[in-house]
Symmetry: C2
Subunit: 216 residues, 2 copies
């Protein structure tokens, strides 16, 4: 890494939102430099959290054996999903890459620890999932910061939570929320893979907007 | 609104992450201009989602009667939480404002609709909550875009999901995820309210970071 690369990268927020992609195929094989990873994780750690509980856990994984074991599990789960598809859906799915675990060179396992702020978490008494929501807000901060740093992120969700828990030794009270492939990329595509490959397209904003009351 | 205000506001991503606050007391009473709100919701709608399912729903609420009804419900739930506190916690909590529902002038109810992408959602077969996670990613996009637009957002979570569902007419299959107070602000404080008022402080990043495996 050159000296300049250790400076925080600047990107306009709306640009980061627009350029962010769920990365599968573009990883170069180089994980982010340590100082870049620290900025990305620092962005995650600045996310809002219910009652300021900061209930997230990050486990960085570089060990090739662990990466390979997770990739193999994900490939098996891919087959489980594929087995439920027929016709055009099966054919379209066959062209879609669902992970870049080994290629990225770095996995970031994100977990939810509901115990970080004691029993009385301000804002969690009526809705227990608010802690889990906070963890997701941190993931989006991480994802956008990575985009600003020209680092790709791919969220893998073809796995069983128990497998991932065992793989990185999360205790029973910490729930695995995500495996993120994080690494340098040659570039980010303009169009999401799932759109480009015909899986699904974008819906118009108006279709998810309602005024005063949900219109049935 | 002046002509210039209809232009998208620019802010560096890391600045937006750092300046974002959970707003309670700073609302001026003016909701965001229509075009600003559309950009903020557009940012939410550009979030990543599992299998590109885009499973979010937004209901904008301005009706004073609806705002007042929700505020009254939240005040009652505040009392439920307060009743479980004693000593210093009770005293500290008594100084904390938990909502700006009426003052903001606009509520955005965010819901999760698991049916937007049919039965076979790519990436959801093994972990059903991944759809819910997507909705939270959209909320963080919204929050950061609002920060760039100098608009405050306050996530209220002192409520019962069933109450909010009935209030805005969400059907049974749409789960309420958040009530966001969204409005113009006089400014955003440098320090989160909960930190400034002594409820909780920030933890160091190192305390939530693990390498290769979770250290017990």
């Amino acid at each position: 890494m050159s000296e300049e690369m250790s400076e925080e990268m600047s990107m306009d927020l709306y640009d980061a939102i627009a350029r962010r992609r769920d990365t599968r195929a573009e990883f170069t094989g180089r994980p982010p430099a340590d100082e870049v990873l620290e900025r990305i994780l620092g962005a995650a750690h600045r996310a809002p959290s219910v009652g300021m509980s900061q209930p997230w856990v990050f486990v960085t994984v570089r060990d090739p054996g662990t990466l390979a074991a997770f990739r193999d599990h994900v490939h098996a789960e891919r087959e489980v999903f594929a087995a439920g598809l027929t016709g055009e859906r099966a054919e379209t799915f066959s062209r879609i890459k669902v992970e870049g675990i080994a290629e990225s060179g770095l996995g970031v396992v994100v977990g939810y620890d509901p115990t970080t702020a004691g029993e009385q978490v301000l804002g969690r008494h009526a809705i227990s999932d608010t802690g889990l929501y906070s963890v997701c807000l941190a993931i989006q901060n991480l994802w956008l910061a990575a985009t600003a740093e020209r680092i790709g992120v791919g969220w893998v969700s073809f796995y069983r939570e128990e497998f991932l828990r065992d793989l990185v030794g999360l205790p029973e009270h910490v729930r695995p929320v995500a495996w993120l492939c994080v690494g340098e990329v040659a570039g980010l595509p303009d169009v999401p893979d799932l759109e480009r490959l015909g899986w699904r397209g974008r819906s118009p904003l108006a279709s998810v907007l309602h005024q005063e009351r949900y219109r049935g």
